[in-house]
């Protein structure tokens, strides 16, 4: 029976991306030994840490069968609010962080609430959210960065915890472990996947659609907030443009990691390797001084490759259904 093969393919979402990561690391370091220098690893891990939170923020929405176009604009709004609270109100970083996370959750819940209650597609609602949150961002900043970021925050984003490992890795590990537990061990995570897998069946099986969708968006907002504040720490300023370039990679990493875009099936580990692949490619092109536009083309090709593999699997599932 081909059952076991299919199951295995699903269980091993991350094997393919993991192999691609390893091969890429081996190849690039063979050509350019400085790729494995302590400094370069630190830079690479910092980028991976931030992008992992961004990808997880999208992953939870993909899991429920929707998309969140406002992810970057929520992250950006939180980033500048975080910086502003510290610069203008002189709030201690931890308090400002709490405020930032709250803003992210509220913004996400607002999107989720409107989507759940109106039944309008998440694409449209989060597209509107993208504009609204961006508008608030620009209203607050007047397009000028906040520079008054405390030294402790700057250190968190730029100093190594041990060897080449930056502090930024800590929130990434926490978020990744939490999300893995969410999808595998928590009721709400199962609900999210059930709705993404078959909304009608989930509803008729007694799952509350509205609450679950709001939860998913709140989580997405929380993760976007985390990523936004990590970027403030890393860039050392609250820049109003934070979040503008998140969209493509937020979808690319989960998809490379085996998520099915129509929902119901995601992999946290696969997403991690998706993030790693994107970071390596971006880095390598810098190391080899290749034109940045090539990064875009390679990323686009990677997405096509990933969705191609996804499509192949969906066809196998569809055949099994027939």
């Amino acid at each position: 029976m081909n059952d076991s093969k299919l199951t295995r393919a699903f269980d091993n979402d991350w094997i393919g991306p993991a192999l691609v990561s390893l091969v890429a690391i081996a190849a690039i370091s063979a050509l350019q030994p400085s790729f494995l220098s302590s400094f370069n690893i630190l830079v690479l891990l910092s980028a991976i840490a931030v992008n992992m939170l961004i990808a997880l923020g999208q992953l939870v929405i993909i899991a429920v069968g929707q998309m969140n176009l406002a992810l970057g604009s929520i992250g950006g709004l939180v980033a500048i609010s975080f910086a502003a609270m510290m610069e203008i109100w002189h709030l201690p970083p931890l308090v400002a962080m709490g405020g930032g996370l709250a803003i992210g959750v509220i913004a996400g819940m607002a999107s989720g609430f409107v989507i759940a209650r109106t039944g309008i597609s998440a694409f449209i609602i989060t597209l509107a959210g993208l504009q609204i949150f961006k508008g608030i961002n620009l209203g607050i900043t007047e397009a000028q960065p906040f520079y008054g970021v405390p030294q402790s925050v700057k250190d968190f984003g730029n100093v190594a915890l041990a060897g080449p490992i930056p502090w930024l890795v800590l929130p990434m590990v926490a978020a990744a472990v939490f999300m893995w537990v969410l999808f595998n061990r928590l009721r709400i995570g199962r609900y999210i996947l059930a709705i993404g897998g078959n909304r009608n069946a989930a509803e008729l099986s007694g799952i509350n659609l509205d609450t679950t969708v709001i939860w998913a968006h709140a989580l997405s907002g929380l993760l976007a907030a985390g990523a936004g504040m990590m970027l403030v720490a890393r860039l050392q300023i609250g820049h109003p443009a934070i979040g503008e370039d998140w969209l493509i990679s937020s979808f690319a990493a989960p998809v490379i990691g085996g998520a099915i875009l129509s929902g119901g099936h995601v992999s946290v580990v696969g997403t991690f390797f998706g993030v790693v692949i994107i970071a390596i490619i971006t880095q390598a092109l810098v190391l080899f001084a290749i034109d940045p536009f090539v990064v875009q083309i390679v990323l686009g090709a990677l997405i096509l490759w990933a969705v191609g593999i996804n499509r192949l699997r969906e066809m196998r599932v569809a055949r099994a259904k027939a």
């Binding site: 029976m1 081909n2 059952d3 076991s4 299919l6 199951t7 699903f10 061990r185 928590l186 009721r187 709400i188 199962r190 609900y191 996947l193 059930a194 897998g197 078959n198 009608n200 069946a201 989930a202 509803e203 008729l204 099986s205 007694g206 799952i207 509350n208 099915i260 119901g264 099936h265 599932v317 055949r319 099994a320 259904k321 027939a322």
Partner: protein
């Protein structure tokens, strides 16, 4: 005479199932050919081969004596094979004329559309079908029966010489069906070869000239003149034995207080004045044709369709059921959907993920933590009891057979321990053995005290399983029949209520 269409020794397999095994079908021009078989016998696979959706693994299709291999449905249409499927395939916002001429709105993609010409052309086809309505009207303004005729018109407009009709009368009243039959007879006399798929044997004997019966993916007969057969013989070919005589003794109606009670319920879907009750241990059957409003009533009970009047009482108390989540968690009501794939199961997920979905809420701890082990402990006994055949509980459910999938969609409600189970068309597309098994299961559940509302349009199933039968038509309950398992009497009483409705023109 050359056959209009021949399917010769066709076989087709899907993962885990051989849908067709050496099946042949021969259609003569100018005749109406019945294609019969139980659900899952292979009718729809055969139709999909003829219409180019599937390619046979072995065997061939010949059109006017020439072998053809359709790579897609468009090629079949171009070759003159038209199909009207059970579900409507019209763009409802477009006009009738545009729908009929959809394939030929212009010579090429950028041609300007000449609406005058399109509607004039469409009117010709409508006239042929005795349908004198303005082709400029949007399809959405038509009745179901009219939409069906528009689809036939669309098929004919494409120079169709072979017309396949899949359950065309499922959503028609008897009068509308007779009008359709008149038109089909005229098309036959014009030389069209027609395939008529129906579960209603009366219609088949009334209308068709020859018959092909499929059973378990094989020919039980091929192209036999119907005048040589009687109903008993056809049924025997369909089910492989004599028509089933009710084997269960009638059960006395329970004396207990009703678990679910509906009093003069009206809904936004159009139900009016619905009153009935279901007692613990009782199987109430809800019979009706497709479109009678039965599944909609189930969804109104579950809170998915708004109640606009009347009262629903659960266990003696007025109930305000706002959602299926309410129905399950507050009132112990479960619903086995008629549409297993769209509404019943998450095909992408495992057997465990599907069987346990109703108990996650109960089994998670205060922090919302769930362990597979706990869920397995709760669902495995039920899966074993129902003899679900799966290599493991982690198996993707989309890979199981239809029968096993259906068992899981019942199992999840048993695991949840519901007090009332609404079961909607439980055996559509299920093999005969599993069907009998599911009937026993429903019976056993009732014996153990579960209240059951059984929705089915399968008459033998209704007579075999239900204790008491409600007949629904046009979103209202037309009558009640006490089931004494006398098939002739009960089925005639049921059809009597439905025909009654049609002749008084009460259908909205």
């Amino acid at each position: 005479m050359t056959a209009a269409l021949e399917v010769l020794h066709a076989s087709k397999s899907f993962p885990g199932v051989k849908a067709l095994d050496d099946v042949s079908l021969t259609l003569q021009p100018g005749s109406i050919h019945a294609l019969l078989g139980e659900n899952g016998a292979g009718k729809s696979t055969l139709i999909k081969i003829v219409t180019g959706l599937h390619r046979p693994d072995a065997g061939e299709v010949r059109l006017n004596g020439q072998a053809v291999g359709f790579a897609n449905p468009r090629q079949a249409v171009a070759a003159g094979i038209g199909a009207v499927h059970q579900e409507r395939n019209l763009v409802t916002r477009f006009s009738i004329g545009e729908n009929i001429m959809l394939e030929r709105l212009g010579a090429h993609a950028l041609s300007p559309i000449d609406y005058g010409q399109i509607h004039a052309e469409a009117a010709k086809w409508l006239a042929l079908l005795d349908l004198y309505i303005d082709p400029r009207r949007p399809v959405s303004s038509l009745s179901v029966a009219q939409m069906q005729l528009v689809e036939i018109g669309k098929a004919l407009a494409l120079q169709t010489r072979v017309l396949l009709l899949d359950e065309p009368t499922a959503s028609l009243t008897p009068n509308e069906s007779q009008v359709l039959f008149g038109i089909l007879r005229r098309l036959r006399d014009d030389g069209v070869a027609i395939v008529f798929v129906s579960h209603k044997l009366e219609e088949v004997f009334d209308l068709c000239d020859t018959v092909t019966v499929l059973r378990d993916g094989r020919n039980a007969c091929s192209g036999v003149p119907l005048k040589d057969l009687d109903r008993q013989a056809v049924v025997k070919m369909m089910i492989g034995r004599d028509e089933r005589i009710a084997k269960r003794a009638p059960r006395p109606r329970a004396e207990t207080a009703p678990y679910l009670e509906l009093k003069n319920v009206a809904t936004s879907a159009g139900h009016r004045d619905i009153s009935f009750s279901v007692r613990p241990g009782e199987i109430i059957g809800l019979y009706g044709l497709v479109g009678a409003g039965r599944s909609e009533l189930a969804k109104a009970i579950l809170g998915q369709i708004r109640r606009t009047g009347g009262e629903i009482r659960v266990a003696g108390k007025p109930a305000a059921i706002a959602s299926p989540a309410d129905a399950l968690h507050k009132y112990g009501i479960g619903y086995v959907s008629e549409d297993r794939k769209q509404e019943g199961l998450i095909l992408l997920h495992s057997v465990l993920g599907n069987a346990g979905i109703t108990v996650w809420r109960r089994l998670s701890n205060a922090l919302g933590f769930l362990r597979d082990r706990t869920i397995i402990d709760h669902t495995a006994p039920v899966l074993r009891q129902l003899e679900v055949k799966t290599p493991s509980v982690y198996q993707t459910i989309g890979n199981l057979s239809g029968g096993n999938q259906q068992k899981v969609s019942v199992a999840k409600w048993i695991a949840a321990g519901v007090k009332l189970l609404i079961i909607d068309e439980p055996t559509v597309g299920i093999d005969i053995k599993t069907k009998a098994y599911l009937h026993d299961l429903i019976h056993d559940l009732a014996e153990q005290g579960t209240a059951i509302l059984l929705i089915t349009s399968d008459m033998p199933e209704m007579v075999d399983v239900a204790d008491h039968i409600l007949v629904m038509s046009g979103f209202a309950i037309k009558g009640e029949v006490e089931n004494d398992r006398n098939y002739e009497r009960v089925s005639q009483a049921i059809m009597g209520f439905i025909h009654d409705n049609a002749s008084t023109g009460a259908a909205a």
